[in-house]
């Protein structure tokens, strides 16, 4: 199966469900269940029912450590974590790869090789919730949400300030809308749970917006209102 561009979005959990089980001949199953730990464990178990000892699972955006999540798969030594931010991944961009404690070097190597074949750069990083990019970015978004929530500036000024004052490629609040506030919230909650450190507690504003369904671009409304491209003008 392909990774990159449209295929990334297409390879959603629904697709795994529809196709029953992934084709074990594929060798590597890329599992895009960008969700909380419980859901990722459910998907790993589901993939496991149709998998084999030889099929490696590359799990996108592990919500906890790969070591922990992998135990939901019948062959945890075949589970490799990987991560990127969909909106920022250009051809030739960089994807992080994280093996868990039980992961076989061959499994990690196979995922790495496939991504390199597809023209991506890779970095092997430690096995921890959010890996590097998502973790840092979610913390930036969380702080921007706190700043907005506390009323120190409006959303446009927060985004403009970060783009012009420090050269960020996107403003943190528009970034959150593009990624999805539900994903940001899940990521922060996982970090909070894993570390037990209040440093990672998600801003209550994000929680409230997710609860109200204001999850960003896909929902038509997040920190900003988006034209969903539907029939309405």
């Amino acid at each position: 199966m392909l990774l990159g561009g449209k295929e990334v979005a297409e390879w959603a959990p629904e697709r795994v469900e529809k196709s029953g089980a992934p084709d074990s001949n594929a060798g590597i199953v890329f599992l895009f269940a960008d969700a909380g730990a419980d859901e990722q464990k459910r998907w790993l178990a589901a993939v496991g029912r149709g998998g084999s000892r030889e099929s490696t699972v590359a799990l996108f955006a592990p919500a906890l450590s790969v070591s922990e999540l992998a135990m939901a798969y019948p062959w945890p030594e075949q589970v490799v974590g990987f991560g990127f931010i969909e909106q920022m991944l250009a051809p030739g961009g960089l994807i992080e790869i994280a093996p868990g404690l039980r992961t076989l070097p061959e499994a990690t190597g196979a995922v790495e090789e496939l991504l390199k074949e597809r023209g991506f750069e890779t970095e092997r990083v430690g096995d921890f919730s959010g890996l590097v990019l998502r973790r840092v970015l979610f913390m930036i978004i969380n702080e921007a949400a706190y700043a907005l929530w506390e009323g120190i500036a409006n959303r446009e000024d927060i985004d403009l300030a970060m783009k012009l004052g420090t050269n960020y490629p996107m403003g943190p609040l528009e970034w959150a809308d593009a990624i999805g506030l539900d994903r940001v919230y899940t990521g922060l909650k996982s970090l909070h749970e894993e570390y037990g450190d209040d440093r990672y507690r998600p801003c209550p504003l994000i929680r409230k917006m997710v609860a109200a369904g204001f999850t960003g671009k896909r929902a038509g409304r997040g920190f900003y209102t988006h034209d969903t491209g539907g029939a309405h003008a």
Binding site: E96, E121, V125, L137, A147, I152, A153, L160, L164
Partner: protein
Amino acid sequence: MLVVGGGTMGRGIAMVCSLSGYRTTVSDLPDALPGIRAEIEKFLADRVKKGKMSAAEMQESLSSIRVEGGLDAAVDADWIMEAIVENLDAKKALLAGLENRMKGDAVIATNTSSLSVTAMAAGLRNPGCLVGLHFFNPATVMPLVEIVRTCWTDENLLKRAFEFVKSIRKFPVHVKDTPGFIVNRIARSFAVESLKIVTEGIASPHQVDRIMRLGGGFKMGPFELMDMVGIDINFSVTQTIFRAFFEEPRFRPQLLQQELVNAGRLGRKTGHGVYAYGTGGKQ
């Protein structure tokens, strides 16, 4: 236009104002004046060399900037920019002196990045005459200015500040007087969370930089940026914001920053920070 303090920021702000057509005076202590003049000439000569301005324009610009001691220029300035050392007592003493000299409708703007504008304004006869205008380094290049308001700042002054920032061809944003304003507060996570990731052995500085650049679209990785800004400056800003927020754990500094500072590895300026720098750049 009067700029008090001819250090890097003060000079930069003076250049920006002068290049936008403001008659500008830079004031500093007598000993510092020749150096300030030389730096301004160097900056303008550099622009001429790069073809950004003609020699005639340089002469015009030079003649529109005065460099002098004392605060006499405060008497007829519409805008007074304060860019002296980041010390509350020094700034309060200066502001009191300026308030005694300036016109009734003049505005004082402080370029502080780490002090409370409110604490600076308190004690003035008219605390509403002070606003924060936070420029970024280098002021001649960075397009953003944060307009910092206190509980005394009225709408009228905010409008004037907004128009002024636009008149010097910068982009203004509004922010309440809170530690780190917008940028220095939110940007903490970029540096500190990256330091934490390295401390925990999840990735090396080099890996984090590559990931943030090639995966996140950032122009510079956090460690490259820290080396450029100065490890000591980054550490000091982090500590200030951490304390100002009553030790909120989101702003907690990292031991690794302190260790680098203790080791004298302050970044590019010392030839060694997170990375070592030779004559050919990063190694």
